[in-house]
Symmetry: none
Subunit: 401 residues, 2 copies
């Protein structure tokens, strides 16, 4: 049986409260001075106390050795196998700017590029035009109309934009137009299945009209379309797990992924402190809260050990607010590692603690990568965290007699 | 390759002796006074000594977060993936009363219920009639004859009975008749595949005749049929693992599951002590013994920490008898957890020790949940225990050249 079908069959409603606290890119790597990671070095008395009362472990977000993007990293935490449930790059790009996708949408990452008189690409990023220029060009593309469907064009940053087609019967089963080479012309969109023929044809019409509109622009006189993808139509958390689920996140991308799995999206707070205040205000309205902390990842990508450690300490100060709400199950973890020394997402397993009123505490008194490696959960796929949270919240009934 | 096919291919006969000692519902949860579980608190010098010479670990009976019933819990211990090899509820109900199922059987859980003059259900359990009354009504239903097959009706308890159809070509691919609602009439049995049409029709005939027989009874004037399931036709242990396997169990359900996987069922002893005496007497006749201890689970379901601990201590006293037989491989574990504080089966991983003459002892001197969490096996699916027992018993040949 498909595992999501199994959860759908076993999940039962309840009155328990579950909290998934995600510090993005939490996992780290040792600093030379004392061999401690960002998390291990952080002064975080509240999380350490929680760890002592918890069961610890490490997750592989996708599979051992795989470095996940933000989409797969979070899908795993929500219980969806990221190798089965894929979210296309166009969809993630649209979610990242807060575009409100519907199930009838095909979303596309667009680049402005430069072509020569023969139509061959001379710069795939159009000289990295400033964001203001990009936004101005997006305005010019908005009037393009396609038969029987709606189109949306939205600026992202510099030379990047998002194109969304909305209408019944569209397909994302399409090739990209970026040849990833200079000196050749952009490719046409091709359908990879018969059901995608109409969408391919509509997109080629759009590209042709965009070329005419941009013909006299410089340097951005053409477009390249990548990551063409349909809104994935994922099973929804209220149906799967019988949870009223809410997302608390400062950044649009994470609210977007949460929306794909059927969470209610609460109005975005501006700071970590406000995220926990919002959690307290909404406590009675939901069974499950996904609270997303972004700056751990950002400071990891900056390569700044101290700053990432400071974000963890900032979150730690908020933990008493969470405990005062009397939750039943808490998981604290990351969606992947972003070690300061690699300045990027990485494949390293991610530490987690699962605190619950029905647990069997490991008695390990520190939250960190090495303490978690000694925890009783061992090393598990991230997708197992959701059923474990449900079980500890007494929200899964017995399998078989 | 299917994993059972792999074991069938690799398993070789031998002279080693393997013992699987299952304390049902072994895994527990901490008591508040000192944070120890039932197993950790038990005075069990023999098991602790064995643990010191063993390799330890934790099992997930089915998968992380899943609370197993007795069927899936034991199938896992016998090496069968419980998500692949399912045993229907009707079959387990029949096994639970010691009914000797054959591969041609469809087994069904029956309820006596009460219907009003319009045939609508007013009580799904017929006022929980006493067991004597249930047995009397079962007698009245036994004369019902169906074309070309045998039928058996057996009392279970109060309003519950078992119905078994026996004959070639029967199918369990059928819907239930219990609408799980009051004020509506029982549903007819429907075939879920063409091969089940005949069985559905036979059952509807049976239901109709039962209704006429019960028409003037009160309050049990109708039946509801649930958990309709064919004997699962599982691969058998002697063929799979080349083991002469014996089951020693006081309770019929566990003998029944052992029979489904091809074990010889030894005459049921009455006490734990007698189980070990029987083991000694039969030692020369088998390669593998499944010894099942029920009261750990029962006392866990009672919510009685001390009594569950006492059962473990009672088993511990028997261990020297087992060691005197000079076994080659011993596994001591449970089929799932039944923590005193939850009073029910649970999803918590189950501690195990694997003692063998070919092992690499962890040197951990206590058998318990937390010591096992530090063991070298880590956290593994229960279905891995059987190949590990075979390997340590030198009963699996090399894979590949």
């Amino acid at each position: 049986m498909n595992e999501l079908d199994l959860w759908r069959e076993l999940a039962i409603p309840g009155t328990t409260k579950l909290v998934l606290l995600v510090m993005d890119g939490l996992g780290g790597l040792p600093r030379p001075s004392d061999g401690l990671t960002e998390l291990e070095a952080a002064h975080k008395p509240n999380m350490d106390k929680l760890a002592f009362e918890s069961q610890l472990g490490l997750t592989d977000p996708v599979a051992p050795g795989i470095t996940p993007g933000s989409g797969p990293g979070h899908l795993g935490l929500f219980g969806y196998d990221p190798l089965v449930y894929e979210v296309g790059r166009g969809v993630l790009e649209a979610l990242g700017i807060g575009f409100d996708l519907s199930p009838d949408d095909v979303a596309i990452r667009g680049n402005f590029c430069t072509v020569d008189a023969q139509g061959n690409i001379v710069d795939r990023r159009a000289g990295r035009i400033p964001s203001e220029k990009g936004a101005e060009l997006v305005q010019k593309l908005r009037p393009i109309r396609l038969a029987g469907i709606e189109t949306f064009v939205e600026p992202v940053k510099e030379y990047r934009f998002v194109l969304v087609l909305r209408g019944k019967g569209l397909s994302g089963d399409l090739t990209e137009t970026d040849p990833q080479l200079l000196g050749v012309s952009p490719l046409p969109v091709k359908a990879l299945s018969p059901a995608a023929e109409r969408t391919a044809s509509l997109l080629n019409t759009w590209i042709d009209q965009a070329r005419r509109i941009l013909a006299n622009e410089h340097p951005a006189n053409m477009t390249l379309l990548r990551g063409l993808a349909k809104e994935p139509g994922l099973p929804k958390i209220p149906d799967l797990y019988k949870l009223r689920a809410a997302c608390i996140a400062v950044y649009p991308m994470y609210r977007g992924v949460a929306k794909l799995v059927g969470m209610d999206i609460l109005p975005p707070p501006a700071t970590i402190e406000e995220e926990f205040d919002l959690l307290a205000r909404e406590w009675s309205n939901y069974d499950y809260f996904f609270v997303h902390i972004k700056p751990t990842d950002s400071r990891g990508e900056d390569g700044n050990f101290e700053a990432k450690k400071a974000v963890i300490e900032q979150v730690d100060v908020q933990i008493p607010k969470l405990m005062a709400l009397n939750p039943d199950v808490i998981v604290i973890t990351g969606d992947h590692s972003t070690p300061w020394s690699l300045r990027s997402h990485s494949w390293h397993p991610v530490p987690f603690l699962l605190w619950s009123k029905t647990g069997r505490p490991d008695g390990i008194d520190q939250f960190g990568e090495r303490p978690c490696a000694r925890g009783s959960f061992g090393r598990i796929p991230a997708k197992s965290l959701m059923p474990l949270m449900l079980a500890h919240g007494l929200r899964l009934t017995k399998f078989g007699a």
